[in-house]
Amino acid sequence: MSLDLKTVRRVASLARLHLEEGEDQRLQAELNGILGWIEQLQAVDTTGVEPLSGAGGTAMPMHDDVVNDGGKAEAVLANAPDRVGEFFAVPKVVE
């Protein structure tokens, strides 16, 4: 499978990455190099193999459904690029 420019631009949009002029072509070449190399996996017979999503063998633990932290608005907002009161501020989304 090889990526065309349209797909590169669509993936960049999905990934929320702005591409400069010409960057799509450079990425296309690099990504196709990497994907071409990854292609060798298709040669592995995985019939009947259960996918492994993580190395941790144990089941996810449950915890009590209680409040155990919070009330730290100032700490949470301390690194915000922009804020209004106790809220993160962003450009207007709804006209």
């Binding site: 990497i34 190399w37 990854i38 996996l41 298709q42 993580g54 915000a80 690029p81």
Partner: protein
């Protein structure tokens, strides 16, 4: 003897006997950093004042009879661990002004045991790289030079290049690091020091900037196997804040270093013999096996048939998880922001300006392999091959107690090499990446030199949560190798 030449074990004894204070140890390291860091660029942030305050507080505790397991030991912290009140960048522009309001569990454990933090050390951006060249804060220089010293600057490896270079050059007694595909073991090998990636789940990931969550593993680097054992014991332990943290007791890892290998069965996987691998790597491997045999181990040929598929599997799984983890950098809650016409434009411009090229490449690959229509062909396929790689190890560990391989396919290479071909750079991790996919512990132990007198390491692997066997085998190799060369660039040289 310069205080910067202590091992951690030696420094703990000297502190106990009152031969040195933590303040003097810390001061010596800060002087070494001031002298050498402008050249090596191992530290992104040096916290001199904080370190001296912490050292004096440690000396006070000691005089009051309160002595932690790492009381007064100066360490470097990879700039991927969140440290309360100290800037944490992940070597990325996007986190250039990020000051965490909390402490990671691993660093909190070290502080609990009395460690002193000298500062935050350099890495590849978001731990994505094998040469420390992708850092937004500049590359790190390997303190080792080729024997003919042709003036070439060598890379320290990556991603924990700053950790490894700082410890090798004696700017810290030890350092925290993380390993997602080899990021502890490859730089340790390139810089001639020891480093262990423990079993996935042994050290909490809480407060470590996430790259690929099913693979990311915190661990230590230090100049001896025993020092790694001492650090790992402090860093480990169950953490309810990381749902994949193992609820298991932490053994006395340092004691395991003295166990020896008598009666152990050591596996030698034939698939790790690569075409074109330098002769000296093969010779080192055979030498390591001979040492172990002489100490009473039995050497057994084994097969790990899916080894060659590990790297391509990794380069689907890791970017997929990274693309998801790095979605949080949106210019809204923390990190840098670049304004845009609307919210989507703000996201896109913020991320384009904040991330470097390698990070963007991996986000793009990850987004693609997870996107509709390609998920089964790439991501699901990779997860199935991952299962086969794990099965290979499960079967091997039915026959052997540990596996010994080379740590890297070459010694440290020159800065600028392999920059133009991402796949050539990825091949650095060919021997290390399998342990991350399977979750098992792996350690680099320095074992010899190449013909240019550059350090080479061997890798020791063992079963899940059997770091004790890793330490037993590694310490045996270390004792037999009895290496004495020091890097040319080092404190008070």
């Amino acid at each position: 003897m310069n205080p910067t030449d202590f091992t951690i074990r030696g420094a703990l004894e000297a502190l106990n006997e009152g031969l040195v204070t933590s303040e003097a140890l810390t001061q010596a390291h800060l002087e070494a950093i001031a002298a050498l860091n402008p050249r090596l660029n191992a530290f992104i942030t040096v916290t001199a004042e904080r370190a001296l305050e912490a050292a004096r507080a440690s000396d006070k505790r000691r005089s009051d009879g309160i002595v932690g397991k790492l009381e007064g030991i100066p360490l470097a912290i990879k700039d991927l661990f969140c440290t309360e009140g100290v800037r944490t960048t992940a070597a990325s522009r996007i986190l250039g002004n990020f000051t965490p309001p909390y402490e990671s569990t691993v660093t909190a454990n070290l502080l609990r045991d009395g460690a002193v933090f000298l500062g935050k050390v350099n890495l590849d951006e978001f731990a994505m790289g094998s040469s420390n060249a992708t850092s937004a804060y500049g590359p790190v220089e390997n303190p080792w030079k080729r024997g003919n010293d042709d003036g070439t600057t060598l890379v320290p490896g990556g991603s924990s290049g700053g950790s490894a270079a700082a410890v090798a050059a004696r700017l810290a007694l030890g350092a925290t690091a993380t390993d997602t595909g080899g990021s502890i073991r490859q730089p340790a090998a390139f810089c001639g020091i020891a480093g262990i990636k423990p079993t996935y789940g042994r050290c909490s990931r809480w407060g470590v900037v996430a790259f690929a969550s099913s693979l990311d593993t915190p661990g230590p680097v230090a100049r001896t196997v025993e020092d790694c054992a001492i650090l790992l014991e402090s860093m480990s332990g169950h953490d309810p804040k990381d749902s994949t943290s193992a609820n298991l007791p932490v053994p006395d890892f340092a004691a395991a270093c003295a166990r020896g290998v008598k009666g152990l069965r050591i596996g030698v996987p034939r698939e790790y013999r690569l075409e074109g691998m330098p002769e000296e790597i093969e010779a080192l491997w055979q030498q390591g096996l001979a040492w172990l045999r002489a100490e009473g181990a039995e050497i057994v040929d084994i097969s790990l048939p899916h080894t060659k598929y590990a790297l391509p599997t990794y380069y689907i799984v890791a970017p997929a998880e990274a693309s998801s983890n790095l979605a949080r950098y949106d210019g809204v809650r923390y990190g840098a922001r670049v304004g845009g016409e609307d919210l989507k434009d703000l996201y896109e411009r913020t991320r384009a300006a904040g991330f470097g090229d390698e990070v963007k490449r991996r986000i793009m690959i990850g987004t693609y392999v997870l996107s509709a229509g390609y998920y089964d062909a790439y991501y699901l396929k990779a997860q199935k091959v991952r299962a086969l790689i794990k099965r290979d190890f499960d079967e091997a560990f039915g026959k052997v107690d540990a596996i010994v391989t080379p740590a890297t396919p070459s010694a440290a290479f020159a800065a600028g090499e392999k920059q133009d071909d991402p796949v050539a750079m990825y091949l650095n991790d060919v021997f290390t990446v399998t342990a991350n996919l399977a979750g098992i512990p792996g350690m680099t132990v320095p074992a010899g030199y190449d013909r240019q007198s550059l350090p080479l390491g061997l890798q020791v692997l063992a079963r899940d949560f059997d770091e004790e066997t890793v330490f037993a085998v590694s310490a045996t190799i270390e004792r037999a190798a009895n290496l004495t060369k020091l890097p040319q660039v080092r404190a008070f040289a």
